[in-house]
Amino acid sequence: MGLSFLIYAILDGYDLGVGVLLPRDNQAQRDSMIYSIGPFWDANETWLVMAIGLLLIAFPSAHSYILQGLYLPTAIMLAGLILRGVAFDFRTKAPSRFKQKWDLAFKLGSLLATLTQGYMLGRYVTGFEETNAALAFALLSAVCVTAGYCFIGSAWLVMKTEGNCRSALPAGPDTVIC
């Protein structure tokens, strides 16, 4: 189970990171970025399903305790993942004037998923404490997990792309995110 969570964080981490890094003003770059993760992102997310399934089967009481404590963030993460998966298919099939909106939905879905995953990690690490310090730690963890995913996402893009898309990357995640 730990192995599937690790593999999930690395594999889906890079395609979530690529989603968060999508530029808002450059259609060609968005196309090549999304095409670069096209064949992989779906399989990568399957590791999450396997990890949660293993958690349920191997540690049922931990499963119920953890997912009850993290009910809302999990629901929000699922909403983000739904947005992402749907935007991926609709962006090429909808009228081209809506394509940018779907790309934005892809970016927002990715961002929601990375932030909630980081937040859940933070809550889990502090043992679901309800103190302000624990909540602040969870928020910090949300930002840091997003930054980490952006980092492996950019590493993936350096490996897979060339030209403008690649040279635009060293600008760093902080300038590209907004």
């Binding site: 095409y35 009850q68 009910y71 629901a75 749907v86 909808a94 009228p95």
Partner: protein, 135 residues
């Protein structure tokens, strides 16, 4: 649903064409499969009450202890997402159908799109794109 499908097949074999009224009837039947699935699901869910697993687990024992406000919030979120997606799905279906009509009117074929590298991976071919600009 089965009657419409069977009658449509029979009509096509006999007359080798689809008249407009039959096509309209087929459009009206779009969600019949969905309705049938949901109806079957309702029957199983309601039919086995008060058990969640017949004879083993009662629904009352399996209910969550999470505050009901949270459940309502997530339910509202899922409902609104699915409503938006349903609207997007239906409008995109019509857009794709109209696109196919335009392709036919211009004597283009699906194979023209498939040979185009931009079309691989679900991308939009240049011809298709130009057609959209014309429209």
């Amino acid at each position: 649903m089965l009657l419409t499908a069977g009658f449509g097949c029979w009509y096509f074999v006999r007359k080798n064409q689809y008249p407009p009224w039959l096509l309209k009837a087929t459009i009206a039947m779009t969600f019949s499969g969905w309705v049938a699935t949901l109806a079957g699901w309702y029957v199983t869910e309601i039919g086995r009450q008060p058990f969640l697993v017949s004879g083993v687990l009662r629904t009352a024992d399996a209910a969550t202890q999470i505050p009901s406000g949270n459940i309502a919030l997530s339910l509202a979120m899922y409902l609104s997402i699915y409503f938006l997606l349903l609207v997007a799905y239906i409008s995109t279906l019509f857009v794709m159908a109209h696109r196919a009509i335009r392709l036919e009117a211009n004597n283009l074929h699906v194979s023209d799109m498939q040979t185009d590298p931009a079309a691989v991976g679900g991308g939009m071919s240049e011809k298709q794109f130009n057609l959209e600009k014309q429209a």
